[in-house]
Every structure is written in structure tokens, then in C-alpha cells.
Amino acid sequence: MSAAPLLVALVQVTVAVVLAPLVIGVTRQTRARLEGRVGPGVLQPARDLRKLIGKTPLRAAGTSPMTVVAPVVLLTSSLLLAALVPLVAALPLALVPGDLFVVVSVLLVGTVAIALLGLDGGSAFGGMGSSRHMTIAALVEPTVLVAVYALSIPVGSSALPLIVAARRDHPASIASPAGVLAVVALAIVVLAETGRLPIDNPSTHLELTMIHEAMVLETSGRDLAWVDLASWLRLSVLLGLVGNLLLPWGVAGSAAPGPVLLGALALAGKLALLAVLLATVEVAMAKLRLFRVPELLAGSFVLAFLAVTASYLVA
């Protein structure tokens, strides 16, 4: 196995870690501007992170070692995700070729870690958030896999780098019905998995409507820093994936410094674009009632299924 794809993977992780707080900063700033506020600036999440890392965590009585371990597991899962998903370059690793099933399962390890973290706090809210979070994760699963199925039919493989590379080399497939439907279905999944509107409101202060925030209610100090960084990474990586599926230009096809640098810049541009778009859509949208969420997810499943049907028609 040559070292080049591994190096590129490490570059991707670094780029993602740098960009993740900025992506959150851009969404918050955009939202603030659209709501007529000045906003704290795009660097605020990074400053928050530094502050939290320096703080002593408080842990509730009766918590188990899970409270210490879960944030680190979540962070590891997000970092691994950044290494596996083609963000800067579409170079499959020889033994772990960024297969979407593997990517999804790495994502789910993080999902499970944070759900257990929520339960371990021993408060009513943690369990509530955890239960809702896992239910949504369960309902998202069919959409993800069927959408992947649709995307993999033209390529003959479920490896993400191959799918992205194929779309880059044959731009016609991006606008094909199958491609569009599958990416829309995936975009809804990304919103659900990362706890954005209309499924979850990341800026809510009302415990009963929380999902993600309820799980981290008992988490503080550096524990919270790891959870926050991991969640931001997860959002950035998944947005980057959607960006690369929609606009696969700029994704490096080799490990040479030039294309990789170009890929990193292209990634930053796509992420900025998607972050602004996300914030704009979120301003215009209210949170769905929790028990309407399954309907949305069922809708996304139907889109994914239509994508499969459409890909049959093409093939």
C-alpha cells in the first residue's frame, strides 16, 4: 500500500478540523445577520472551543466511566469520518476504501456514543434526548442505504471516492434523475444526523424540545469541547460530502501537492457556500413537531427509492 492516500487522508483530517469551527461560525453569523443582529463573528466557535478545553468538567453524581469515554469515542469517530470521506481528494485507501457502509457505521459509532452519554447523566432530559436521537437515527438508516444503492448502481461500487470521481469525470450523471433524487435524500439525512432544522433546533434553550442539546446537558468543560468539536466535524464532513457529490469539481485525483491544495481550497469554498445556504434555509423554517419527523424521513426514503427506480431506467 502506498503512503500517498494515507497522507492525503491525514491532510483531510487536518483541513476538516480547521474548517469545522469556521463552518459553524459562518452559519451562526449568517443567521445573526439575517435576523438583524450583529453576530459574534465567524471565529467565535473556535474561541469557545479554546475556552471550554481550559475548563474543569463537572460530572453528575452516579455517572459511570462512560461519561469520560463517550466524548472521546465521538471525537474519534468524527476524525475517522474526515479521513474516510472524499473531501479534498478522491483517493481510496487500499484496505479501507471509503466504502459507504463503513462510513455509515463509523458515523453510527459516534451516534451511539453520544446517546449513551445522554443516558449516563441520569437525568430525565438526557434519556429523552437519547431516545429521540436513536429513533431518528434508526429511521434514517433505510434512506441512507437505499440512496447509496442508487448512487452505486452506475459506478458498480459503494466506495465513496469512486462515486465522487465518477461524477467528476462524467458530469452528466450529476443532473440525471437518479443522481439528483439520491443526493436530495442524502441531504435530508445529513440534516437529521447532524441535528439541524427542521429536525432539531441547535440553538434551543427549552429542554423539552431538545434532542442533541438534551444529551449534552450534563456535559461540561473539556468533555463538552470534545463533543462540540466532534459534532461540528460531523456536520462539516457530511456537508462536504454533499458538496462534493453536487459539485465534484476541484476534488484532487492525485496526491500531488498542487491538486491537493486546490482540493482544500475548493472544499473551503463549497463548505462556505453550503453553510450560508443552510443558515438561510434554517432562518426561513420552523422546527417540525417531533412526531412529524418520521413523515419527513419517510419522504426522503421514497426519494431514495425513486432514485433506484430511475437508475434502472438509465441502465
Binding site: 463537572l58 457505521s105 443516558l119 431516545s131 448502481i153 458498480g156 461500487s157 473539556r222 427509492f305
Partner: protein, 665 residues
């Protein structure tokens, strides 16, 4: 005499020894001696299985009292794999039982039944002809019924469970008997070697296939024939539940493999579609009920129904893809079926053993009354956690690799031009994905509610860790789950060669490469990559943690108030509430809310009682009418037997006259 023949004979000898020890030894000595003998019996089974899997062959013939009918033991490589699986689970369960059994489950009968159960299970995959197969099958069924009855003296539910189990298992036996009779009549022999590859177009083949598949599906716990599982597993002692759930049901799946792949290959498309639908339906049904179950062992029982459903669906897909000429994906699906079986055996035995440890420590099977057990039972918590990861098919466990293989088979089973394949494959994929998602909820619930947070009852607070023999068995099981997950390559390659599939190679350090579909997975490399990216993060975590240690024992958030009652935590019922609500139509729960008001006020409540109950819809709709009809029929039959001696004498006389008339005529 070859080593394999020696292994098979040793099993018989060790089983006899175990029964003798169980009957003669007393008190604690019995537990130790009989446990060791049972463990040796299982080890002999595992070793013979490994030998058969590696290609050793032997044919043992035993004459019987009936002329012309002999019992043949001739394990093939697939049988060897199953023997290895059953033997390994048996070994864990026997070691565990030494520390676990107490009271009724430590009796002579129970230990003797355990030994016979193990022997029966290990002989089923060794059988080389129909007669030996059915005899071993019946030994297994009868001995396991005795095990289910262990607690019958003070638990009426155990008697109920045993009746359901006995009826279902014997219905299955009757169907198998009829099915094998039809098959033998079609093929003209009773030996499996002679029956292999029987032409599916011959008359009688369809009847044989349907009878055998239904019979085996009942043993495998595939819905709608699963009704005995959620009754028998909770009531049996936990080592017996582990054996039944991890090993015995696998033999049901082995039977389906035997029929669908070896004896009657190349059947019509509807056979494979039937199997796929049966399997996928069972998977979704099982996991839905597991998702809302609050009894830990019932939850595990339903999850077994789910996992075996996945296995059956994978077998169905193999047959479908083979008849429709997609050999690469068919091979992958078949390997997936075997990997699912093996990984299920590993994680389900670990989970049942863990559930047994919890039951022993707290006397509770109800998740709603557990909580915080990770403090008192760290070993049990860790091993149960690993088992849960396996059941939720997360990396790096055997469950994940198995599911990945199945999904690869589905992804590469694309044939847009072939209508049946084009419809069945994506639908199955959707159902399997839903199953996988719900399995996540189920096992986060099972582990999180039982082991994390704070104790929800006094008994959970007073729990203590399990004794060493139980711990050893649980740790071995958990190590098995992880080993299958990190180094699946050799296992997958062995399974593929056992069933005659080429196209599976070992990639890198113990990874799997499916050359037939061009997919590769190396969990070891994934772990390595994870370690590389996590190292800087971990270093940072450690540095920061050393500089500022955490403050523990602070009050949790209670909206500004002090809300410390553990009853305010989410429990298993509330955790599953969203699932229950979303799948309301499929689960049909009955809710009972009683509000007691303060005085005359309609707004102030003094107390609210909430009770929720749900029955299995299959049971209500399908089995209750059947049981009622059988009851009515039995009532009619009873009128003939009224206890009058005169009437019985009249019956005998009439029968005699009829016989004489027949003989004369």
C-alpha cells in the same frame, strides 16, 4: 481410526460420563464435575468440528435393531463449521453454568439434560443420513424441553413456556419427518450424499421443500413460527437460553441451508422469493418487538428471531441470485449467511450470559428496574457492551462484518433487466436497513438502561459482580465477538470453502476481500487508521485531563430545582416510546391511564397510573384462533373417553372384530 472418528466417539463417551457424574455426584461437587464434563464434551465437539471443517472426512455406521436401517455419521465441511459453532457456544455455557446454576437448575435432571442437549446439538450437523439426523434432532428437542422446565416448581410461566415450546418443536419435527419422507421417496435413498442435488423439478420436491423449510424455520424462530422463543428463552436458565438462542436456532438455519443449497438446489424462483420474504419479514418483526420489549431476556429472544430472519433472507437471496445468474453476489450472500450465523452465535451467547449475570445479581429481568449496574458489575457491563455492539452491527465486531458482506451482496446484485431481481433486491435492502437501524435503538436501550445512569430499584443498587467461572465465560464470548470483527478474513475464507463458494480471500491483516463483487474490508486497517487519527486527540485529552482533573459528584440539571429521584430517569418503556408510537399500527399496544384528581378539581392530579401492554400481533391473530380450534376439537374427542370401563371394553371388542374381518377378508 482417524482423529475425526475419535472426536465423534469421544463425544458419545463424554456425554455418558457427564450424565453419570450428574446423577451420582452431590451438591457443589456435582456442579463442578458435571460442568467440567459438559465443557469437555463441547470441546470435543468443537475440535471434531474444526477437523471436519478443515477437510477431514469419516463415515461412521452404527447398526440398529431394525434390519437395513443404520445410523450414519458423516460430517461434511459445512457440518463441521456448525459443529465448531455449537461446540464453542456449548463450552462457554458449560463453564458459565458451573458458577451460575443454583436451586432447581442445579438438579441431577438438569445437568443430565444439559449433557444430552449438547450431544444432540453436536450430532445434528454430523449426521450423514436422514435417520441419524432426525434422531439427533429429537434428542436435542426433548432435552431442551427439560431445560426450559427447570424452574417449573415455582414459576407457572415456565410450565406454560415449556408447553408452547414442546408443541412448536414437535410440530416442527412432524413437518421434518414428512418432508424428509417425501424427499427420500423422490430421491430414492435416505443418505444425504445420495440426496444431494436432487432435481427440484421432480414430483414431490416442492412438497418436500415447503415441509422442510417450514419445519426448520420453526426451529430457527423465524416469524410467524417464532412464538416459542419469547416464552422459552426468558424462562429457561440463562446458560440454557444462551445455548438455545445461539446454537440450537443456528441448526434450524443449517437445515434450511441443507435443503436450499445442498439437497434441492436450482428450485423455481418462488422458493427463493418465499425464503427472502420470510426472512426479511421476520427480521423486521423481531427487531420491532425487541425494540419495545422491557424484559431483557425477551428482548434478546426477539432479537434472535431478527437475526435468524436475516440469515434466512441471505439464503433466499443466494438462491434467487443463483437461479438468475448473478454468481458473484450469490456467493457473497451465502458467505454473509454463514458469517451472520457465526457472529450471531458469538454475540448472542455473550448477551444471554450477561443477562444471566444480571438476573443472578438482582433477580430482575425487567429493564425498568435496573440501572447503574456498570458500577457494581464492570465485567458484566463491558462484556454485555461488546455483545450489544455486535448485535447492533457496529465496528469492530463480527456482526458488522457479517452485515457488511450481506449489504455488498445486495449492492452488487443489480440486474435492472431482470424484473424479479430488480424488485426484490432493493426492497430487501430497505427492510434490512430498517432492521439495522432499529437494532441500534434496541441495544443502546438494553445496554444504556441496564448498566448506565442510576439504579432504578433497590435490588439493582445491591447488585454484586458474577463469580469467576461466569466472568470467564462472558469474557471469552466478548473476545470472540471482537476477534470475529477485527480478523474476519480467515473465518470468512473457511466459511466460503465450507459451502463451496470461491471468491473470498484474506486481504491484508485478517481482512475480507470478496473478489466476486470486488469489495474489500479490513477492520484491522480501520482500527489502525482510527488509532492514527485519534492519537493526537487522545494525547491532547490526556494532557488537558492531567492539568485539570474533573470535579465529580455534582448535582445534575433539574431545571433549577433539585430533582434527584432515580425514578425521574428515562426507563426502557419511555426510551422505546417514540418507536412504539411510530410503529403503533404494527405493534398495537394497549395503554391504560388512570388519573386520580385532587378533590373535585379537574386540573390538579394527585396521582397518575400508566400501564402499557402489548401482545404480539401474530400471536393474537394467528395463534389464538388456532389454539381455540384445537381446544374445541380436543373437547369433542374427550366425549369418546368418558372413563367408563364398559365403553373401553366395547372399543377393544369392536377393534378386535374389525381386525379379524380385515384379516379374513
Amino acid at each position: 481410526m482417524t482423529a475425526l472418528a475419535g472426536g465423534l466417539l469421544a463425544q458419545g463417551a463424554l456425554a455418558t460420563l457427564a450424565v453419570l457424574v450428574a446423577v451420582s455426584a452431590r451438591g457443589r461437587a456435582r456442579n463442578l464435575l458435571a460442568g467440567v464434563a459438559c465443557a469437555a464434551l463441547s470441546a470435543a465437539g468443537a475440535v471434531s468440528g474444526a477437523l471436519a471443517l478443515s477437510g477431514a472426512t469419516v463415515t461412521l455406521r452404527m447398526a440398529t435393531a431394525l434390519p437395513g436401517a443404520e445410523l450414519v455419521l458423516a460430517p461434511d465441511r459445512l457440518g463441521g463449521l456448525l459443529m465448531l459453532l455449537v461446540g464453542s457456544v456449548g463450552f462457554l455455557a458449560s463453564v458459565y453454568a458451573i458458577g451460575y446454576v443454583h436451586g432447581a437448575s442445579a438438579s441431577r435432571t438438569q445437568w443430565a439434560a444439559l449433557a444430552l442437549f449438547l450431544l444432540g446439538m453436536q450430532l445434528v450437523p454430523a449426521a450423514g443420513d436422514v435417520v441419524a439426523f432426525l434422531l439427533a434432532w429429537e434428542l436435542m428437542a426433548a432435552a431442551s424441553t427439560v431445560l426450559v422446565l427447570a424452574e417449573q416448581a415455582h414459576r407457572p410461566a415456565a410450565r406454560q413456556a415449556a408447553v408452547w415450546y414442546a408443541v412448536m418443536t414437535h410440530l416442527s419435527f412432524v413437518l421434518l419427518l414428512a418432508g424428509f419422507a417425501a424427499l427420500s421417496a423422490t430421491g430414492g435413498t435416505t443418505s444425504f450424499a445420495g440426496l444431494a442435488g436432487t432435481d427440484a423439478a421432480r414430483p414431490g420436491a416442492t412438497a418436500a421443500f415447503v415441509l422442510l423449510v417450514v419445519g426448520f424455520a420453526a426451529k430457527a424462530g423465524v416469524a410467524p413460527l417464532h412464538v416459542w422463543l419469547p416464552r422459552a428463552h426468558p424462562e429457561a436458565p440463562s446458560h440454557a437460553s444462551a445455548l438455545m438462542s445461539a446454537a440450537m436456532v443456528s441448526l434450524g438455519a443449517y437445515g434450511i441451508l441443507l435443503v436450499g443449497i445442498r439437497l434441492l438446489p436450482g428450485g423455481p424462483t418462488w422458493w427463493s422469493v418465499l425464503l427472502t420474504a420470510l426472512g426479511a419479514g421476520s427480521a423486521v418483526h423481531g427487531i420491532l418487538h425487541a425494540g419495545v420489549a422491557t424484559d431483557l431476556k425477551r428482548l434478546l429472544a426477539y432479537s434472535t428471531s431478527e437475526n435468524l430472519g436475516l440469515v434466512v433472507a441471505a439464503i433466499g437471496l443466494t438462491m434467487l441470485l443463483r437461479t438468475h445468474h448473478v454468481p458473484g453476489a450469490a456467493g457473497a450472500a451465502l458467505v454473509a449467511a454463514l458469517l451472520l450465523l457465526v457472529s450471531h452465535a458469538a454475540f448472542k451467547s455473550t448477551l444471554f450470559l450477561g443477562a444471566g449475570a444480571v438476573l443472578r445479581a438482582t433477580g430482575e429481568r425487567d429493564l425498568d428496574r435496573m440501572g447503574g449496574l456498570a458500577h457494581a458489575m464492570p465485567w458484566t457491563a463491558a462484556t454485555f457492551g461488546v455483545g450489544s455492539l455486535g448485535a447492533a452491527a457496529l465496528p469492530v465486531t463480527g456482526g458488522f462484518v457479517a452485515e457488511w458482506t450481506l449489504l455488498q451482496a445486495l449492492i452488487h446484485g443489480v440486474r435492472p433487466a431482470d424484473r424479479v431481481v430488480a424488485v426484490v433486491v432493493p426492497l430487501t435492502l430497505g427492510l434490512i436497513a430498517l432492521t439495522a437501524g432499529l437494532a441500534l435503538v434496541t441495544f443502546v436501550k438494553a445496554f444504556g438502561i441496564a448498566f448506565l445512569a442510576r439504579a432504578r430499584s433497590v435490588t439493582a443498587l445491591a447488585a454484586t459482580e458474577a463469580p469467576p467461572s461466569m466472568r470467564a465465560a462472558m469474557v471469552l464470548g466478548a473476545v470472540g465477538v471482537l476477534a470475529l470483527g477485527v480478523l474476519p478474513g480467515p473465518v470468512a475464507a473457511a466459511a466460503a470453502s465450507a459451502i463451496g463458494v470461491d471468491g473470498v480471500r484474506v486481504a491484508g491483516l485478517g481482512g475480507v476481500e470478496l473478489t466476486g463483487v470486488g469489495a474489500v474490508l479490513s477492520p484491522a486497517a480501520l482500527v489502525g487508521l482510527g488509532a492514527v487519527v485519534a492519537l493526537p486527540a487522545l494525547a491532547l485529552v490526556l494532557v488537558v485531563a492531567r492539568r485539570r482533573p474533573a470535579t465529580t459528584d455534582v448535582l445534575g440539571w433539574g431545571c433549577g430545582g433539585v430533582r434527584t429521584s432515580p425514578r425521574m430517569q428515562y426507563n426502557a418503556t419511555s426510551y422505546a416510546e417514540p418507536v412504539m408510537r411510530i410503529f403503533d399500527d404494527a405493534l398495537q399496544p394497549r395503554r391504560d391511564v388512570v388519573v386520580t384528581h385532587v378533590g373535585e378539581s379537574a386540573y390538579l392530579a394527585e396521582r397518575v397510573r400508566f400501564a402499557q401492554h402489548h401482545d404480539d400481533v401474530v400471536e393474537v391473530r394467528l395463534y389464538r384462533p388456532l389454539v381455540a380450534a384445537a381446544d374445541a376439537l380436543a373437547d369433542r374427542a374427550r366425549r369418546v373417553q368418558n372413563g367408563s370401563v364398559n365403553r373401553y371394553l366395547a372399543f377393544s371388542f369392536t377393534a378386535l372384530v374389525v381386525v379379524l374381518l380385515v384379516v379374513v377378508a
